[in-house]
Symmetry: C2
Subunit: 156 residues, 2 copies
DNA sequence: GAAAACTTGTTGAAAATTAAACCATCCTGA
DNA sequence: TCAGGATGGTTTAATTTTCAACAAGTTTTC
């Protein structure tokens, strides 16, 4: 089966849009990273974990679920939660029914820490993303990336 | 100046769109990374460098420019180009006028290697991004992220 | 024309991420 | 019931990225 067919290349406009997306998203991610690190000593990955935990019932989730919500591999999550535990922002405990399971829980300290970080973060997101984009275009982004997430999800 | 004013939080729709973007973009990036690595042993960062070089006059650029085009720090670029040089895909030489300058150049081998990788890559981009998105929404993404890139650019 | 200030690119170590091996627990079916 | 296989999570090692310090070259300033 080595009859490699000619790929359908992107047309000029698609190419331009795709490139714009790559450049914009990389630069934005870098900025958010630096911002979060400078002001609160947090990685974006760490921040994401704190957010998901804060929204969970009892501010607690099993590692596997947390990994899913935060779009991280389990291995990565283990390392990152270990770091957050050192900082006292998260604590780990076994979960009742399944003895393999581990629950990560946001500590009191973690919650107040997150509150502060979230304020700054949302301001930056606004400054460099939301406020720069036409509201209709933002909706389009929501639609588009929901579709992408779903499409990619099927293959994981 | 510690009169921290209340941040303007995102409204429900903005929140939803922002989250969708984060999730979709992270999952897409992961997928593209894995795909490129599995099929060609390349990082996305490495791939990006090869692409920029291939488009430059004489397939050659100064490190600083390359860093700019590929949205990478100079340090990171140094390391990455070193790796690519080991693989024989890129070569480095001093540049004439400014003795501090270093030119990175795509080798013949690098070019043919990139050709193959690009085929597969564009196919995956199509499968999981372009073809999943309404054409009008893609245009919106182009507009929006151009604006974001410009906005972020000003602050670097 | 020389000192100060800045730019370019690299380096080495620390931090983070990925990949693969691993252990313990849980589930399934014969 | 118990053997085989799957699942959940951690761990170790390899790879990649970041951070800070640096050497060498250029520009500015006086």
């Amino acid at each position: 089966m080595e009859g490699m067919s000619e790929p359908r290349w992107l047309d000029a406009a698609q190419q331009r849009d795709w490139r714009a997306y790559i450049e914009g998203s990389v630069r934005l991610a870098d900025l958010l990273d630096r911002d979060l690190k400078a002001k609160h000593g947090l990685t974006t990955a760490e921040y994401e974990i704190l957010v998901r935990l804060s929204e969970a019932p009892d501010r607690r989730l099993r590692m596997a679920e947390l990994a899913e919500y935060a779009s991280q591999s389990r291995s990565r999550l283990s390392h990152t939660v270990a770091r957050l535990e050192c900082k006292g922002l998260v604590s780990r405990g076994t979960c009742g029914d399944d003895k393999r399971g581990v629950n990560a829980e946001l500590t009191e300290k973690g919650l107040t820490f997150l509150d502060r970080a979230a304020r700054d973060h949302v301001t930056t997101v606004r400054d460099f993303f939301i406020d720069v984009i036409d509201p209709e275009d933002l909706k389009a982004i929501g639609r588009a990336f929901s579709a992408v997430a779903e499409r990619v999800g099927k293959v994981r």
